[in-house]
Symmetry: D3
Subunit: 251 residues, 6 copies
Amino acid sequence: MRIDGREPMQLRPIHIETNYLMHPEGSVLISVGNTKVICAASIEDRVPPFMRGEGKGWITAEYSMLPRATETRNIRESSKGKVSGRTMEIQRLIGRALRAVVDLGTIGERTVWIDCDVIQADGGTRTASITGAFVAMSLALNSLAEKKSLARFPIIDYLAATSVGILKDNQTVLDLNYAEDSKAQVDMNVVMTGSGEFVELQGTGEESTFSYEQLQGLLQAAQGGLVELFEYQKIALGAEIMKKIEERRKK
Amino acid sequence: MRIDGREPMQLRPIHIETNYLMHPEGSVLISVGNTKVICAASIEDRVPPFMRGEGKGWITAEYSMLPRATETRNIRESSKGKVSGRTMEIQRLIGRALRAVVDLGTIGERTVWIDCDVIQADGGTRTASITGAFVAMSLALNSLAEKKSLARFPIIDYLAATSVGILKDNQTVLDLNYAEDSKAQVDMNVVMTGSGEFVELQGTGEESTFSYEQLQGLLQAAQGGLVELFEYQKIALGAEIMKKIEERRKK
Amino acid sequence: MRIDGREPMQLRPIHIETNYLMHPEGSVLISVGNTKVICAASIEDRVPPFMRGEGKGWITAEYSMLPRATETRNIRESSKGKVSGRTMEIQRLIGRALRAVVDLGTIGERTVWIDCDVIQADGGTRTASITGAFVAMSLALNSLAEKKSLARFPIIDYLAATSVGILKDNQTVLDLNYAEDSKAQVDMNVVMTGSGEFVELQGTGEESTFSYEQLQGLLQAAQGGLVELFEYQKIALGAEIMKKIEERRKK
Amino acid sequence: MRIDGREPMQLRPIHIETNYLMHPEGSVLISVGNTKVICAASIEDRVPPFMRGEGKGWITAEYSMLPRATETRNIRESSKGKVSGRTMEIQRLIGRALRAVVDLGTIGERTVWIDCDVIQADGGTRTASITGAFVAMSLALNSLAEKKSLARFPIIDYLAATSVGILKDNQTVLDLNYAEDSKAQVDMNVVMTGSGEFVELQGTGEESTFSYEQLQGLLQAAQGGLVELFEYQKIALGAEIMKKIEERRKK
Amino acid sequence: MRIDGREPMQLRPIHIETNYLMHPEGSVLISVGNTKVICAASIEDRVPPFMRGEGKGWITAEYSMLPRATETRNIRESSKGKVSGRTMEIQRLIGRALRAVVDLGTIGERTVWIDCDVIQADGGTRTASITGAFVAMSLALNSLAEKKSLARFPIIDYLAATSVGILKDNQTVLDLNYAEDSKAQVDMNVVMTGSGEFVELQGTGEESTFSYEQLQGLLQAAQGGLVELFEYQKIALGAEIMKKIEERRKK
Amino acid sequence: MRIDGREPMQLRPIHIETNYLMHPEGSVLISVGNTKVICAASIEDRVPPFMRGEGKGWITAEYSMLPRATETRNIRESSKGKVSGRTMEIQRLIGRALRAVVDLGTIGERTVWIDCDVIQADGGTRTASITGAFVAMSLALNSLAEKKSLARFPIIDYLAATSVGILKDNQTVLDLNYAEDSKAQVDMNVVMTGSGEFVELQGTGEESTFSYEQLQGLLQAAQGGLVELFEYQKIALGAEIMKKIEERRKK
């Protein structure tokens, strides 16, 4: 039994509240246990300089935590005047992951800006951000598709992320909370499509290492959690958008 | 009649949800119409260098907006690497205002950090921040008082803020939303104590000016709104804390 | 009687030396007692990006202190690599105030850059900056009007600023020096036009508050000082420019 | 056959020149084909603030490229005034990887600074950095062990890294050069110990995805290359240090 | 004859106004023709970290220009967030030059901060800064010597600087103004002691070169100007300080 | 006899390895004793904004040290977020010196970027950088001349640099290593053309001064060393490029 009473392969309670904000083209408040992230998707009618003239779109993400999302207050990156390495790693990961399930040619020279702002942190903020951002982005791109009648629906598959890890007692667990994460030997983030393909795999031994057999156990645990997460995303998006994604996925 | 159907002297709907976050010593989500701000109060057991050895506490505030709190996305200050002049003005104002109603000698060499993060903006974010921050700070200082049995309760009066303005048609209005604010001739923020004393008064003619008579009308409008805001704060804080503030106020 | 022997409602000695520098289109050295500020106005033949294509001009200000303008040396903002909140607040105030008395449509797509550099500080540097900057700007815009034969003279009224405050002994005083300012309970800056209209009003209780009656006393004190300051400005500008401003003011 | 004539599972030519620089406690110039990195290890007699008083050591890394290490000149990060997200990701990875094979308690409150400066880049700079940095660090820690007679030899296993990927034609290849890397569908970096345990696994679909079967092929390819790399490290370190590592590894 | 009517070996008019500011321990306003610099010397009772514990003092300088010191407005370095290479070169030069004529052991662990702020620029701002800074520093150190009764007077010689150059027509001239400087082939700054020894020599061919014979002519020209500058410094410092410097110089 | 056994007028061993890197248009690894610098020359087909439209080229230089080029590790300027004054001085010097021997009109609107990266430092890094950069630049401009058939060969003379100094025992020496440099009374860098003309002369008394006679001795010493350095450059460049430079030099 885990600290918070869960089974090893059990996710924390998931809630996805869509259209949480009035201004963005798409937005959600996602809760994974006590971890809460506001994900907003904004559409801008141009691409960054290095993409101009290619007729393709771009997706980029920014990630931040409120200073008191954490147990002790952390200093704002705007006050420090620079963004930490950890933040940069996370926002590069979110953007890269989302680009894997969007047909960028379909959306034309537009940028989808994803903002993931962690309101409350209890472990797994980057995977919650990806899972929530996929929904926010889908809402925004759906509204774009409706307004601009794109040639095809631009989202080609579902996308979600979760963490798995090996605790000090060698137990493999799914969806670590902060207390577990800070004591785990091995920590792995898995980003997967609705079709069960990997998009990103980041496994780290924390002053520790892991064997090929342990890796297999971790990947299996992740897959179990991700299948559930796709179901929450489908409910949040609703039947109409689900149908459009399924159609693109088949092809 | 105003854009959103209000009377000239009518506040927008106010909601104050206390203990919105699990980590901070005090926190609220305040809504003033569509303007929504998360206010968190954190207590740190030391003061900034310039205050050390005086045996007094300090209160300081930081203010930020989520990139998509606004109609068009604004660039994060952490990405720009510097905090704008507007942000600095607002956070200096919030800190200064709160310090006027706290007996800093009572709390010892501690800092109260106030974080006001605007989730959604529709005008009046700085005044909503002050009104919400007062409640978050009161919760935090009350919990400090309970744990550390301070010599006296440190809060000596209520504190709230609102905006008033003169629209293009010369009408004086209370609590401007963004559409009104961006077209007003005169814009004034008033910070007041529960006893009706001014703490801060900032009136600005926007490429315009205002007369002494107009100033009197603006101040009267502000006072009407502030009396209501104090009632919302009292309900949010509850009878026990209210009683402690009233006791200190009498003296 | 005050520290420096003045009456409560007495300004410090005022000197305005025009054309203090050889390069700028307009410049002054203003002294308000021991406070000395060099104000320079530069005209640039374009406006910032957010104003382009509107056919209107813009006025913007920068403010700085020499490191040893103050009793103890303060670190240069260029060495710190960032501008302080206080500096930003002041330069935003100066620019906003000046824009209230200029017909921006008349000057076309040009920017007036105002530089206020405090050579020596003894309280009231922001109000001295506004009072001096108005004269420097008037000289620069007059020379522009003469060279480019603008459709109309662009300055529509005088503009000056002063500070008023309430000392610890509850006395209301005009034009506080540094020693008074650092011990005042209430500090208020008033920016007014030659016609007696308010442009900006910033009153602050310094860990203190003020009543409606005290506010009335402060405003009356300010008005007395401002009437005198307008006379100094008129002498500095000379009869010809005075006449042009008066003509615009009437309409 | 690959662009440069190699077999799919063939590494590029490896050279490790030890003690390349006169000042650092340990240094190498490592070449992996045309990729050349200077790795220097410096020992400092203190740890960062967050580690003080724990009696343990710390290992941290910095990574940089000369501006003309690449085909077109890239701007120096010192000129830009900030370190890119990519650089931060890489230096965090190098430090984390090295810490997995060092018994930090043995070295006391000391920091090992690893500097990886890419002189010439042709793909795989981060994995070459890790492989070279392990040798430089071993030399530095060996000299520390000799001078300070540490209780035990601090290095507990070998550590090397390589990249594997899936090209556009679905071929899985080992040790991608820049031309291959920029066109690969999937790119994976694998950091492994001499005992065959994973330390870090980072697989990324580049606007693409990969299946579980493909993952297995990638890991097998990586393992083949890593076994060879450990041999190059052993030759570079020499028999004496090899023996010390082997002894610690057994326990 | 030169642009401004001077002879080739003629300095521009020199004025040194001592005690120009009320706060610093020493200050001057120096004019060299139209070039005007405020030099302030501040004494701080500690030395920078790298000097602590040596029982010696330190002298450091900062240099800046007002934005409109020049013909076209230049952007403030505080707004740009960094100090230019030119500014750094100049402030390093000023500090190094002054340290050559001060017995740093005599002043104890104190720092003399020199601030040179160019109010108006017409060529030769760095040499005017050195010449003026020497006077400001002498006033400050004299007042320190009087208050703290130092073992010996700390200034061991006079110090001044001037520029010389070769114009396009091959004429060697002394003390170039901006118009001359911007068209000169060769530009040389010479810093010399009252005893005729060189402290610093910086000669530069501006997309041009110079022969050994030309160098000799330049040095002779500089020496002529410097002899005059020492006389202006002596008058500014007055008989008492002059006597103290002469006494130290003899030994 | 000197610390390292050299005669006072003896250079350290010089090696210039051309085409050290595969990507740049020209590159060398220059060793002057233990000082080692990689110099790379890159050609960009545009000039900086302030040069556009003049039909001329530009040459600019950047200089950096690896963190462990020095005896104790120095912090990277990219980590500090700013470039030091010393670095700026050096890079301005390198660029200025090289521009003196290039006919900028001949190369059209192109920029030559010079990167000098110090791999190992033992005194004289800026002069080694200039001497090496001249060779790298010559290789790059020769390859440009061959590809673009420029109207004339753009290099009009050789260029090298060395340091001379006066040690504590009053001995004048050539080419100081770090141990000598850090104890010298006077330090002078001399940049000269192959025709024996000065390009740059920077002499500094380090808390010391120097006489006219000493200056003459220093310049004579420098000239002796420079004559040798030109020979090393000629060998490195080879007969063909030598011939082209000689032809331009004659005219």
